[in-house]
Symmetry: C2
Subunit: 235 residues, 2 copies
């Protein structure tokens, strides 16, 4: 993706030192962060932060980048595994884009719907195109995009659709195992079930080999329930 | 709070082993979880999980509680420090209630607006009352409540209001320090600025010594931007 988006503008890479799956919107406040310049082929390639994706955006904006370098666009990804439906709320990749939106910078998260043998080519190419579009069109304050790319060769891509966040949930469970010392431990298991048929749902679009683009925001208020809740008697 | 809500029904306590501030919606997938019974005065008081608040709800539901013990209500808290406005998205306490809502169980998060010398009395008393109300009224699928209690004596409480999530953000910064080995490290600093005047905003309600109740959901879709986004040319 770095190579692809470099054709759109100057790129600064800021990334967590290690994989940060399912960290959600964690930020680091109990311990200090460290930032290490990361070199490639003898020259500065980016910065490694010993924190979460959200930390990376915050510290890039406030401490790594100089005032005149404040970004026109923040791209978070490419994540291994889709962040469609309910996955969006567990996603460190999406949360980095959330931080971008909070800072008032047009932002999108991009994820590839596979965990194995990823070919990032199509996702990188689409990130490049979308970067140009977002810079030109802009995004409303507090709104950002959650993009999910199916893991197919470009010739098998069936389109690009604007979607809403799917409602399908996981049939969670924990598998209990016993360690060599006789103590129990638990692994989270489960997969998404009952994915909605509606083709304007992100999970469904990916299954149909389409790129899904969901506009999201970080206002969790359920406005449709405010009036009803005001009829409750709390006194 | 345990003492207070025990008067409403049978309570099972499941809590993280250690403090989990700003873990957001982190869930533990890279390492297994462990669950330890926690005794108090010689009898079982609850369960300690070496994970996040969201992990606690997931594993309580799927592994700790038996089928016939599935909860009628999940209460997450009392959190030290308010989870109003943008804090809701960083909050492990709120995320535990999110997991409850995902599981289809009426849930609320409750937080006390202080970090120092907390008196949990008023918050516990309100949690008890709200528990009874929520069980009676129910909540729509996927909707849960984010409750914030000001840190005042009960006689100074100015009311209970239904609110929306405030939009005020932090004036973030990182303070750079040097460790004893001459290496730099960064502490996150900052406070919330430009809190809206609207008394139906959670942050404002707390400043007015009112308990705020914000109905929230985990559908991040910005529906108001869908139509506009569909006019963009992605091809």
């Amino acid at each position: 993706m770095y190579d692809a988006v470099c054709e759109v503008g100057h790129v600064t890479v800021v990334a967590p030192v290690s994989e940060m799956s399912a960290v959600g919107h964690a930020i680091t406040i109990a311990v200090p962060l460290r930032v290490k310049p990361y070199n490639k082929n003898g020259s500065l390639f980016g910065y490694a932060v010993d924190g979460t994706p959200a930390d990376c955006v915050k510290i890039a904006y406030s401490a790594i980048l100089k005032e005149k370098e404040k970004p026109d666009l923040i791209i978070s990804g490419i994540n291994l595994g889709s962040n469609s439906g309910i996955n969006a709320i567990y996603s460190g990749t999406v949360s980095a884009a959330t931080e971008g939106a909070i800072l008032g910078i047009p932002s999108f998260a991009i994820s590839l719907a596979t965990y194995h043998d990823p070919d990032f080519g199509l996702a990188a190419k689409f990130a490049q195109k979308l970067a140009g579009i977002v810079i030109e069109e802009g995004l409303p304050q507090g709104t950002y995009l959650n993009v999910n790319v199916p893991h197919v060769p470009e010739k098998d891509l069936k389109g690009i659709v604007v979607t809403r966040q799917g409602q399908a949930i996981f049939n969670d469970g924990y598998e209990m195992r016993r360690d060599p010392f006789g103590r129990n431990y638990y692994w989270l298991t489960g997969s998404k079930i009952n994915i909605e048929e509606d083709e304007c749902v992100d999970d469904r679009a990916i299954l149909q080999n389409k790129i899904s683009i969901t506009p999201i925001h970080y206002d969790l208020t359920n406005y449709s329930f405010l009036d009803k809740l005001r009829t409750w008697n709390f006194e």
